[in-house]
Assembly symmetry: none
Homo-oligomer: 221 residues x 4
Amino acid sequence: MPTATFLHLPAEKRERFTTAALDEFAVHDYRTASVSRIARAAGIAKGSVYQYFDGKQDLYLHLVTLAAERKFGFIDGSLPADASGFFTRFRLTVFHGARFDFTHPKLAGLLYNATYEPTGPETRAVSAQLKAASQRYIRGLVDAGIRAGDLRADLDVDFAVFALYQLSVSLRDYMSERFDFSFADAVRHGGGSPVPEDDLMAVLDAFVDVLERGMALRSAA
Amino acid sequence: MPTATFLHLPAEKRERFTTAALDEFAVHDYRTASVSRIARAAGIAKGSVYQYFDGKQDLYLHLVTLAAERKFGFIDGSLPADASGFFTRFRLTVFHGARFDFTHPKLAGLLYNATYEPTGPETRAVSAQLKAASQRYIRGLVDAGIRAGDLRADLDVDFAVFALYQLSVSLRDYMSERFDFSFADAVRHGGGSPVPEDDLMAVLDAFVDVLERGMALRSAA
Amino acid sequence: MPTATFLHLPAEKRERFTTAALDEFAVHDYRTASVSRIARAAGIAKGSVYQYFDGKQDLYLHLVTLAAERKFGFIDGSLPADASGFFTRFRLTVFHGARFDFTHPKLAGLLYNATYEPTGPETRAVSAQLKAASQRYIRGLVDAGIRAGDLRADLDVDFAVFALYQLSVSLRDYMSERFDFSFADAVRHGGGSPVPEDDLMAVLDAFVDVLERGMALRSAA
Amino acid sequence: MPTATFLHLPAEKRERFTTAALDEFAVHDYRTASVSRIARAAGIAKGSVYQYFDGKQDLYLHLVTLAAERKFGFIDGSLPADASGFFTRFRLTVFHGARFDFTHPKLAGLLYNATYEPTGPETRAVSAQLKAASQRYIRGLVDAGIRAGDLRADLDVDFAVFALYQLSVSLRDYMSERFDFSFADAVRHGGGSPVPEDDLMAVLDAFVDVLERGMALRSAA
DNA sequence: GATGAATGAGAATTCATTCAT
DNA sequence: AATGAATGAATTCTCATTCAT
């Protein structure tokens, strides 16, 4: 948790620091990220970092929490209140998640890194928490989908949740390759025009299409 | 690539080294893996590592390549020659892949680590190569499946390949959680009885079921 | 020396600070003691410490002086005015010194630490001063003892003073081991029943016995 | 324990390092001693220290062990084989111990520091071990003295051992003051002519005199 | 071809002290 | 008079790589 010192900081400075820290963790994993580099980039003394946070681990926890809250908040805020079926709702969730990734490449990069963080003792808890939260969210959608009759009642819910989670998370890789969009560059140079929403929707159509109908030729259905 | 020196080594020594290196990278990610530990475990001088390989990165590339060849070879060798439809063939591929993971936990651990190690200039190329090879393999299956009429002709092939790849790779996580099987322990202590093949098949049924039929209630189809 | 600022402080605040500082130096040696922790425990700003004292070193000097005064005062106040022979008087001195240690573990801990902290320019002076004061006190006893005919006139006074001083100071270690009494715990948890006065007296008897009669078999004396 | 690397070092270099390390620990206590300073003084890279020893703690353990062995060896080698009574033997032990201190000020300084080391987790074991060894040695002398009829049979052995130990160890302080000999300077500048052996003996006479006969006027003995 | 000692830049972290507010 | 954020030099320790033997 940030210290009181950090919270009392002038907004400008606090944000300069946060930006520097996000820049670092968006590009490097936990081990590779350097507190010294963050301090240098933020233009503060190395010791100050330890006035703001309990240490590297604490700073990391804060940033991941922050990013997760922002992303979940962004998605929630973008979803229409009236749900309209599982597939529509899921597509929108992924769609706004992807929009968030394009428009907040640093936060998204951090979350992506956190998800695939090699599990050392320092990061295990954070990664696990992050995964659990995402899967809980998806499980809620799936349960509702079954209740509403949108999904097959005989679905293996555990596997479905797992599949939806994995595909959602790694969709970033897919988009990156398909649209030749480098999230790494976006983080570093603020850059690259995001994928047009139409193209994005087309991908999501393919996604939902497979989810909905499966891949098989409707053989003897 | 291994140097000529390494290739001319007495087989026993070469294998002692390879084993030690695999042991190390199976348990640690690239950064955490230690060249010194490998040398010590192999009973050779640290300097020798640099006579055999160009450096840590080069050694890593060699090991990942080796592991990938072994896994692909294992799967190919286990598949019946006569294909019998896309879903059956795919299920068998994943099934034998999982069997490989259970019976070769070190090689599998290394491949898993390599897959999720996209950060850092040292590993990016290797990860990308590994991913490309896997996806090429899957794409072959999908293309054949469409030609054979097992898969819908209007399928978004790129997305399908991506989805199959991601789910196959991360199936390891799913099994680990579902069956409470720790691959890390298996690597370290050779241990743990692998998931019974029946249970494994049950998971693959759920997997293929979703792929084949999708998740939607066959509403008014 | 405390600044005027410190002396003009409301008594309550001044004492809160003193208590916090004693707590810290009773448990930690000079290097390990932390100004920040003291400020936090006293509920004042870190900067205030430097308004009250010239720095860590100055604060340390003040505390040691304070503790020494308290201990000497305690002993003096407990001794009967009419002296009754060197050994009785010395035994009482040590006895009340030990009682002070048991009942004022923090002050005693601080003094003990200060005594054995001769390393480093910051503490050397304070240690020397403390040692000098103690030895001066003992020298007074010895001189009087000789004059009164309680001690041998041919005694090497310098050595005698040194020996009495060292043994008195380190008696704490002896008692701690002999009675399994942890002064460290007493400081931290206020706790532990002190050694019963009878047992304490028995130790002092052995002490004085050696001092008085020596260790030799009264051979053919 | 030193690593094999350290033991295989050319004698000159090994000694340069050992000297530098002793210089450091003879003047500073454990906390204050700096590995960086040792490396600089020895003219080697900081990292090399960690090739030679497991870390600061390990280096410290090695040095203390070394110094203790040297001092005990020196004393043992200097004592005549035929014991001649407790007090003679004890006086000789202390005498040669003091000679060692004057002629090996660094080793002696290190041992002195180790004895009074503030007990943090890193040094506790070493200090305790050192004290235990010394006291065991003294207890042996005392036990033999009683058996031989040199010491009173009703002596409180525990206290006697404690007293002899404390006085022996702190004799260094006494000599330092009495003869105005700065061990610190001796360590730093190799300097100062040691106290003449006659003067040293005179002090030991006073010491043994008090031990043997006690301090009391043989009043009504 | 093998060795293994040496390197040195870089990591995280601590803390007494200062000084603008 | 009080505050408390900022400092920055100092600490221990790591490890891939090199190179003289």
